[in-house]
Symmetry: C2
Subunit: 608 residues, 2 copies
């Protein structure tokens, strides 16, 4: 029943060789991997204006040059990541690049911050999208948390179904959003060009503003750069592309960069011309849409697709997290369960862990995750900086044809990313300090896990010089609770293995019945030695354990192996188990984890 | 660590022969077993007045004759239970008496309703006590549920520590309450006798009242009888008394009956003379205390001890529930885990189940369990009726010396209890109907469990005519994931048992590596046959299971037993387990529950 429910949710299991079918075409990849980046135009421009308004309404024109800087940063990042795609076609992005060129520590810092960042992506985007929906339907406002959790569960199921199936469903909203944004920007620009807007709405560019300083401008720039989160997603997911994967990925990256640039510039320019001032009760995009169209169908179309793409932005996390986890697990820094492909050939464990972790974040923050945004942006710019620096090192070392241009591009990228990171730390320290604590902890955990796996590997590896000792003989201990058919079955089994080395052990709570028990045993199993132990604390485990210990010590002296044969009857129905003291199970796990004895369970299946 | 925490909470384990020390003296038994009955004087008289006030203030004098009827019922119950104590010195009360004399169905109805009733006792009394406390400290009112749960946890721990230790702690509040009540009644009666109270406060007894009818008087009587819940506790707990147990129990019962009669009459009479009218904001006891003493120290002393004894009334449930459970478990109607004595020689499982169940009730009803009181009273009077009827049958059948008196006592008891039960159903049907649903369900579950145990017993019992088949030989299957020292250990073990009948099985996900693996195996373990299976759905269990099934089918034809030897490395630290796919465990539980194969786990303990 459980397994058919699972099949209903995620579809039939796929065979290993069906993996090619699950790869992404460029159009699908664009939808699936760029929703994070594209959705950020819904809040990026606003972040710039929010900083500028703290000075004065006159300062709003600065948004245009600042947007230009963001665009330059975007161009540099896109060019840099294009180079990364071709240099590292197996994917892995910042983690692989930093690891290879800057050493393991830098790689782990990049990997760790991205890992956490994808969880933040999911929580933040879903919460933002839910907010947008519940703003439209105020009666739902009490159920924010429930709705957000529901969306995360839906996304998790979609992704467990497999990459292309989620891409098909997700493609429409992304393209609808792009369409809506294009109509908005087109109509707006048309108004600007035809002189339909009053020139009094905006202060001319270059107007001097009192009190403006470098700090504010940098802060506005950094805030605006949060629109660039998600740019790295494609470089992590190259193996998901159809062949030739790197080429297709690079083209998709270029298209995404172009779209992002157009949408971002469009929104900033319209906000400038329409003189939009950020307000708590309506987003910048909503204000622009209302100014252009009024509250008609187009307005709701734009708001609706924006809400949808915010939720789907979470999906970028679902694409990138499991692949990054695979890279980390291959290097043994996280549990190797992240390497296993699920029924639908996706890395299910990564998908599930991501879903659970982000649901926990949503629950802890009651779906109010806005103030996690700066943290999330820093978590992106740290790996940006590291991967660009890594590429610099690569070109310096390898010096391929035309390396100087490449080196300059990556150096610019590294430099600007570093500056943005530093600006974040300087201007928003109260919101991002925690990364300084959790990143070292994560890296420390990575190393602990690695150390464990290496130690295990060393111990498990077959070496010629230190052979496993040969077993010279066997002793079989059968703990028994009474004289029943279950016990008879186990004794028969023991006899079939080692007729002469069997010891039956009974732990009793009443001294009186001991003698009678022994006599009865003698007539029933005369050829099996019986040892009876008295338990004054009514625990079976204690005396049994001491007895087995003693036998084991003796046996190991002559390289004999002790096997404990546990009679266990298996009830016909699951609920019957609560009617029986599971002492067999208890004994088994206790012995296995503490002693060097083999534990064999002999089942006796009940028929009714 | 866990075990030392447990020891801190409940004390050192006790030996079997320390059981005598845990038995109760009469003074302690009175405290521990009568808190339920005594505490009910805090609400019993009030219940009568609440019904009467619905007619008119003039009707209040009827409380005196009604109280007289309750006293008669009490006297009959005490006398009847005294007879039960001597007739059934092993304890068990209503369940044993009904079962023995009226048949199993009646016994189970009595046992089932008492079992549920003790859970209600705990939930209702603790909630009531918590209410009393939070009324005194209004700032705590938002934490009612938490406080009530905390009290239940405390009581559970106390009872896990053992009977006498809880008695020592519980004795003081009970006796303090009795002292407080005596002072209150003494001072009140003194005022009445010295004519210190205005005669206008009360209407003379016998004043005709318009609208009073039999229905109302019966309802008032039934409500007042709810003060008698808990009277049966002593008869259930005879084995807890010091020897001679029945005699000591009977004396304790008599003292309890006397105290209950004095307190109940005292409160009713004072309420009459002081003309107390029940109010929502102050209990009857509180009003009497205020009239006599004003709001001074004595008032708070009375209120405080009342709150305390209400909470401790729950403890009666803790004494009676585990013993009743033992009786039911001995007859195989509930899981036999209720028979096991814990570290401190108490029946820990019963105590824990009671604690958990009442916490659940408190959580579900948000510590507002007042409207469960009628249900709880019916749950007591059903077994009262059944046990008295059972005693009638006993006397009729056995006819010992002087049986007529005994028969008359029990017949009166049975008759009045039946009347009270019927009055409850007639006058409060909306509050007690659910017992008609859950009692049959409980009895049905009892029978299901019994049926299972009997079926098991039949199947396990050794019979001469149907011997367990002899095992002619063994086949050993070793599932392996690779060539490691863990596998080497398991193979060595298998060889030491059956050198010639070993099959190693490897499940692979890649067809390509199969051949290389086979060749490497050939050089490593030339004498062990290797079977490689290809899993197209990346599941180890599926192909392995099909293979084992095939081998098992073949083997069983010639009475061979299949043993699956599972290599398992045991990490040094518990947390390491999450770093390894526990396929060994999964395979083991799957095989054990579905197949007739022995599963032997060979541990390989890692050293670091």
């Amino acid at each position: 029943m459980l397994s058919s429910f699972k099949r209903f949710l995620i579809g039939r299991p796929l065979k290993n060789d069906e993996i090619g079918d699950q790869k992404l075409s460029k159009t699908k990849a664009l939808a699936i991997l760029s929703s994070d980046a594209l959705s950020s135009v819904a809040y990026g421009p606003e972040q710039i204006l929010i900083v500028l308004i703290t000075i004065s309404g006159l300062a709003m024109w600065y948004s245009v040059p600042i947007a230009l800087c963001v665009l330059i940063l975007l161009a540099v990042l896109i060019l840099s990541y294009k180079q990364i795609i071709f240099a590292y076609p197996q994917g892995g992005g910042a983690y692989v690049v930093s690891k290879t060129n800057l050493g393991m520590n830098c790689g782990l810092v990049a990997g760790g911050s991205l890992l956490v960042d994808y969880i933040l992506t999911v929580a933040v985007s879903v919460s933002a999208g839910t907010d947008a929906i519940t703003s439209a339907f105020p009666s739902l406002q009490n159920y924010n948390v429930e709705i957000a959790v529901l969306f995360v569960i839906l996304l998790t199921i979609l992704n467990l179904r497999g990459v292309t199936e989620s891409a098909s469903i997700l493609a429409y909203p992304v393209y609808l959003f792009v369409l809506a944004a294009f109509i908005l920007i087109g109509a707006g620009i048309f108004n600007v060009l035809t002189g339909n807007i009053s020139p009094e709405l905006h202060t001319p560019i270059g107007t001097p503003v009192a009190g403006i300083g470098l700090f504010i401008l940098l802060k506005a720039f950094a805030s605006g750069s949060s629109a660039l989160t998600g740019v790295e997603a494609i470089s992590n997911a190259i193996p998901n592309f159809k062949d030739p994967a790197p080429k297709n990925a690079a083209k998709t990256l270029a298209v995404m960069g172009g779209l992002l640039a157009i949408l971002f510039t469009g929104i900033v320019v319209l906000a400038y011309f329409y003189g939009i001032i950020p307000k708590a009760e309506a987003t910048v995009v909503s204000q622009i849409a209302e100014s252009i169209f009024g509250r008609n169908f187009m307005y709701f179309f734009i708001q609706g697709t924006t809400a949808l793409i915010l939720i789907l932005a979470a999906n970028t996390g679902y694409s990138a997290f499991p692949l990054l986890a695979v890279n980390l697990a291959k290097d043994k820094f996280i549990p190797r369960m992240f390497l296993a492909r699920g029924d639908r050939l996706g890395y299910s464990n990564g998908i599930i862990v991501l879903g659970v972790a982000s649901i926990m974040l949503i629950l802890v923050f009651h779906a109010k995750t806005e103030h996690l945004i700066p943290l999330y942006a820093v978590g992106v710019f740290v790996p940006f900086t590291l991967s660009q620096t890594g590429m610099m090192m690569k070109w310096l070392k390898e010096k391929p044809k035309g390396w100087v241009t490449k080196f300059i591009i990556n150096t610019t990228g590294a430099f600007i990313s570093l500056i943005v990171t530093m600006i974040f730390f300087i201007t928003k320290f109260t919101q991002v300090w925690s990364i300084l604590i959790f990143l070292p902890i994560i890296v420390w955990i990575f190393y602990r896990i690695k150390k464990h796996y290496v130690a295990i590997g060393d111990q498990l590896r077959l070496t010629n010089d230190d052979l496993v000792k040969k077993i010279e003989g066997n002793v079989i201990i059968v703990p028994i609770a009474g004289m029943t058919r279950v016990v008879e079955g186990s004794l028969n089994y023991a006899k079939s293995l080692m007729p002469d080395q069997i010891i039956a052990v009974n732990v009793g709570f009443e001294k009186e019945s001991e003698k009678a028990f022994k006599e009865e045993w003698q007539t029933w199993q005369p050829d099996v030695r019986l040892v009876t132990l008295y338990s004054q604390f009514r625990s079976v485990l204690g005396p049994l354990n001491r007895f087995i210990e003693a036998v084991e010590r003796k046996a190991s002296e002559s390289n004999y192996q002790v096997t404990v044969v546990i009679p266990q009857f298996i009830p016909k129905k699951g609920w019957h188990n609560i009617l029986h003291n599971q002492s067999g199970l208890l004994i088994r796990s206790y012995l296995l984890y503490r002693k060097n004895v083999v534990v064999a369970t002999v089942p006796y299946h009940l028929k009714k």
